[in-house]
């Protein structure tokens, strides 16, 4: 078991952030329950139980906050929670999706190690609203230390009487357990994750029925992302309007942006929705080695790549990124400088989707393999002029023809890379080597 003391204050706390999910980071020993209690943690839960707050009142506050699902889909949280019937008196489950495996995404990891109790409190509030008695937090298998830390945080919460039967003397009972994946990107898809909790291969289910009516063991289940749950206690403490006011229209609040790739200071930045991209890039220390920005994948590889010229004036929010033909996704900002060969970059992304396709739907299972092999052939100097049309054609035939969104996600990089960097692909095919002198 890892000792909490091993996870000391992060080595660098970036200035100019508006901390909500990572608000403990400015304190020593940020992940401990003592720190969380010191900043008023679990106070919202106590108030709710004491005042027997109506679930509708909490949902209304969430609606005002403009909070949308932080895992990538951006679905309004208050609406998702309202899908769970309170009248159904059988077993119901609550699930936190901490299975972040979308390349460039590493925000939930920081919540798990620096502020796990805010997540636990958020889940407790969600359980109260939806009437669920048991919850699971499904954690990415590769971040094992965070899994162990979260188990420790659960023990702390139990010792303080925040989890278990009749919490704080009320008639509300809820228990929460940590479970883990073991190397399958697809389990981040909520129905695949449910299958995985049932001890099966992580293959997505047909929807409908949606998890709110048919989830774990066929029982109503609500799945939300880590950052979504962790935002809830702050929203109830400061009010929904205060959260909405931090952001912009349609994109309430703050958002964690995971910045990786060619920047001086990669890391998580929790900033207001609507912050200009240029400001975020500055916070991350700008492009490394004094090179120039070439392209950005703003929300993880399942969102479209955009060239520098398009994103330089964009704002980081749902609408701002949609305007330039991409999307916010999980806020996984991958920065590429002018030394990047876009053909090689696409080859690696295509390999990822090929490797991680669960194999259930033919267009995705076969199509991702085709796409990878064709791009590999180009990188090997054996591409033909028809290959770009072939790639576009195969990708379009995967998109929209699969049970889950992985198919669309696999097609997006191919179509957007070719759309914005076509000359680079043509050059590679014609000359058998990259247009870019990789430095």
């Amino acid at each position: 078991m890892v000792k909490q003391i091993d996870i000391i204050k992060p080595s660098k706390i970036f200035p100019n952030q508006d901390l909500v999910c990572l608000r403990t980071m400015v304190h020593d020993d940020p992940g401990s329950i003592d720190t969380y209690l010191k900043i008023g943690g679990y106070e919202q839960l106590k108030q709710i139980l004491k005042k027997k707050t109506k679930p509708e009142a909490i949902l209304a506050e969430l609606k005002t906050s403009g909070l949308r699902g932080r895992g990538g889909a951006g679905f309004p949280t208050a609406i998702k929670w309202s899908f769970m019937s309170r009248d159904y008196d059988g077993m119901k489950y609550l699930v936190c999706n901490s299975d972040e495996g979308e390349p460039g995404t590493f925000k939930d990891r920081d919540i798990l190690r620096y502020n796990p109790h805010q997540l636990i409190e958020g889940m407790l509030i969600a359980a109260y609203v939806m009437g669920t008695r048991v919850g699971y937090n499904y954690i990415h298998g590769e971040i094992w230390r965070e899994y162990e830390l979260f188990e420790k945080a659960l023990d702390e919460a139990r010792d303080h009487g925040f989890l278990g039967e009749n919490i704080l003397g009320s008639d509300f009972s809820f228990d929460l357990f940590a479970v883990h994946g073991y190397g399958a990107y697809i389990c981040g898809e909520e129905t695949a994750l449910i299958e995985s909790i049932e001890g099966k291969k992580g293959q997505p289910r047909y929807k409908p029925p949606f998890p709110a009516t048919y989830g774990i063991y066929g029982k109503p289940t609500n799945v939300n992302n880590t950052e979504t749950f962790a935002s809830v206690p702050w929203i109830l403490e400061h009010g929904g309007q205060a959260f909405q006011d931090l952001g912009v229209e349609n994109s309430g609040g703050v958002k964690l942006f995971s910045v990786s790739g060619h920047v001086e200071k990669p890391g998580n930045y929790e900033i207001k929705m609507g912050t200009p991209f240029s400001e975020l890039l500055n916070m991350a220390g700008g492009i490394w080695h004094r090179r120039k920005l070439k392209a950005v994948i703003p929300g993880g590889p399942s969102t479209a790549v955009v060239p520098a010229a398009l994103i330089e004036n964009a704002t980081m929010d749902y609408d701002g990124l949609q305007k330039i033909g991409s999307s916010l996704g999980a806020g996984s900002v991958i920065i590429m400088d002018d030394s990047t060969c876009m053909v090689s970059a696409l080859k690696r992304l295509s390999y990822f989707f090929y490797e991680e396709s669960c194999g259930q739907c033919t267009p995705c299972r076969e199509g991702t393999g085709w796409v990878y092999r064709v791009i590999k052939r180009i990188v090997d100097g054996k591409g033909t002029r028809e290959d770009l049309e072939l790639l576009t054609d195969v990708s379009k035939k995967i998109s929209g023809r699969t049970i889950c969104a992985l198919g669309d996600a696999a097609a997006t990089p191919v179509l957007s890379f070719i759309k914005h960097f076509r000359p680079e692909f043509e050059y590679f095919i014609q000359h058998g080597h990259s247009m870019v002198n990789t430095k």
């Binding site: 390349p103 990415h140 298998g141 994946g181 049932e198 001890g199 099966k200 990786s260 990822f352």
Partner: protein, 157 residues
């Protein structure tokens, strides 16, 4: 036979699920057994199936689906290097080449003395500290450089 200590660990996992849903603990059970033996033999799969009351094929399906499970013997230290986009942009290729040169093996291979094996990993969800690797699935090493790899290899006895 599942080791008695592992039985205790699996039983702890079982407590997280309803009594009639033992299968839910299968990923943990496989992980626990693999952590002890370094890999999962047919016999291990069969033992776990028996213990959880599952058909062997259902356990095998899970073991083959999740890519952190090893279905053949590996080195004492398995080094999994992430080569996905964020790590690639921060020169994970250099790390891979350095490891291949130092260990004399490529991805998917085990060194002659059975001390090391190398594996290509997918995104580990820690891209802010790229490039990175995992030792035996559970210990992450971040901000890798060739010097750090040298130190790391020297520390693995």
């Amino acid at each position: 036979m599942i080791h008695a200590d592992d039985i205790k660990l699996i039983d702890k996992e079982l407590k997280k699920f309803p009594d009639n849903q033992k299968q839910s603990a299968v990923i943990s059970a496989l992980r626990i057994v693999q952590t002890r033996h370094g890999w999962l033999s047919k016999e291990h799969i069969s033992d776990i199936a028996h213990y959880l009351g599952m058909p062997e094929i259902a356990v095998m399906e899970v073991a083959t689906f999740y890519n952190m499970f090893n279905l053949e013997p590996k080195g004492k230290y398995q080094i999994t290097v992430c080569t996905n986009i964020s790590c690639m942009l921060r020169n994970s290729d250099e790390i891979v080449q350095h490891l291949e040169k130092k260990l004399g093996i490529s991805f998917g291979e085990v060194s002659k003395d059975k001390k090391f094996s190398l594996k290509e990993g997918e995104c580990m969800g820690a891209c802010g500290s790229a490039p990175l690797c995992l030792i035996n699935n559970h210990t992450m090493h971040e901000y890798l450089t060739t010097e750090k790899i040298d130190q790391l290899l020297a520390s693995l006895k």
